[in-house]
Subunit: 195 residues, 2 copies
DNA sequence: CCTACCGATCGGTAGG
DNA sequence: CCTACCGATCGGTAGG
């Protein structure tokens, strides 16, 4: 029955969305299924008609988000952008993920260690590949003299960490608009890299 | 009896040190007093002869670490360093905190939200003052044309976040030595700021 | 510093 | 989707 299935799917989405907000705020271990059920508006036991376990929720949030990051990074391969343009695209993409999908993105970078195997191991592998591809882009920029002779590893860390820092901005009441934040971060990081 | 007191104090230190390592790894909520007691080598109930509560351990770790940061920042007021030199000193101090006192520093920046009031409110206030002083240093550098016309808020976030990113480096098996990491981060950030 | 134990809460299941 | 409930584990205390 499509109707039933659609309703179920959307209820599952609601659960995951509320869980994402709660896990971002309190962290995975401090998020109880009873509190989650409360904000969804059902009893704790009823959650299990839509999801299999608390762990499954975390897996869904993290794997979807990680997948979107991978898709973006891979799409850069098929472009003819310069290294510096690729880096700018990466920075803008991550800033937008942090701002537009705040809960999911923050849960991914803060709570991944609470995944259980084999999902934990798989995530770590995915992330290793991701940062290696980023480092390769930076290395190519250095080789072509587009970038200063920076260490790709340190540069990659600095870029991803700076975006992560926007979590702090997001929580605060600062009245700087998102586009200004994005542009400033791009120029600060890119200026430190340009040759 | 000084002897007894000294012994007790050192046992308390041992408990806090082991707790710091465990809370860094798993987070505060996922750190159980029974697991902590195991690595200390006593029964869970015996922990309470040395500490008052699980919360007290978190408070001790965070307040000591925050205090050291405040002391360093305040010491800059009494120097005649330029804005850029002050920023470099700040970056080096935080990198060293992250590398030398990895557990404590990481617990502070990742687990502070699990403090309970009034410690939580007090910590947030302290942190707000800290970042405001940092922003003032950056603003002064902009005013004196030592720095590019960056936004102090975004710049402060970028610096602190970049240091936080070293947590990732610390966990990895990268064979870059600490001094190289520190120097690279200083040059990457300072080069992006210099006028 | 231990044994013994408390009430509360956890993730999850049975059965309807 | 609910009521009723499970065993496990939590932070912490009493008493010695």
């Amino acid at each position: 029955m499509p109707e039933t299935k659609r309703k179920k799917a959307s209820k599952k989405e609601l659960i995951i969305q509320k869980a994402s907000a709660m896990m971002r705020e309190r962290g995975f271990p401090a998020t109880s299924m009873r509190d989650l059920a409360d904000v969804v508006g059902i009893e704790a036991a009823s959650l299990y008609n839509h999801i299999q376990s608390k762990s499954e929720i975390l897996q869904e949030i993290i794997y979807r988000t990680a997948n979107d990051c991978n898709v973006h990074l891979n799409s850069l391969d098929e472009t003819k952008l310069s290294s510096i343009q690729k880096l700018e695209s990466l920075i803008r993409f991550h800033v937008q993920m942090m701002l537009d999908r705040f809960n999911d993105y923050t849960v991914m970078i803060n709570e991944w260690s609470h995944l259980s195997d084999p999902y934990l191991t798989n995530f770590i592998t995915q992330r290793r590949h991701y940062v290696q591809k980023m480092e390769l882009i930076i290395q190519q920029g250095v080789d072509k003299k587009e970038l200063k002779p920076v260490l790709p590893y340190v540069t990659m860390l600095t870029i991803l960490s700076s975006v992560r820092g926007l979590e702090f901005w997001h929580r605060s009441a600062k009245k700087i608009d998102p586009q200004t934040i994005e542009d400033n971060m791009v120029s600060l990081l890119i200026n430190g890299l340009k040759n």
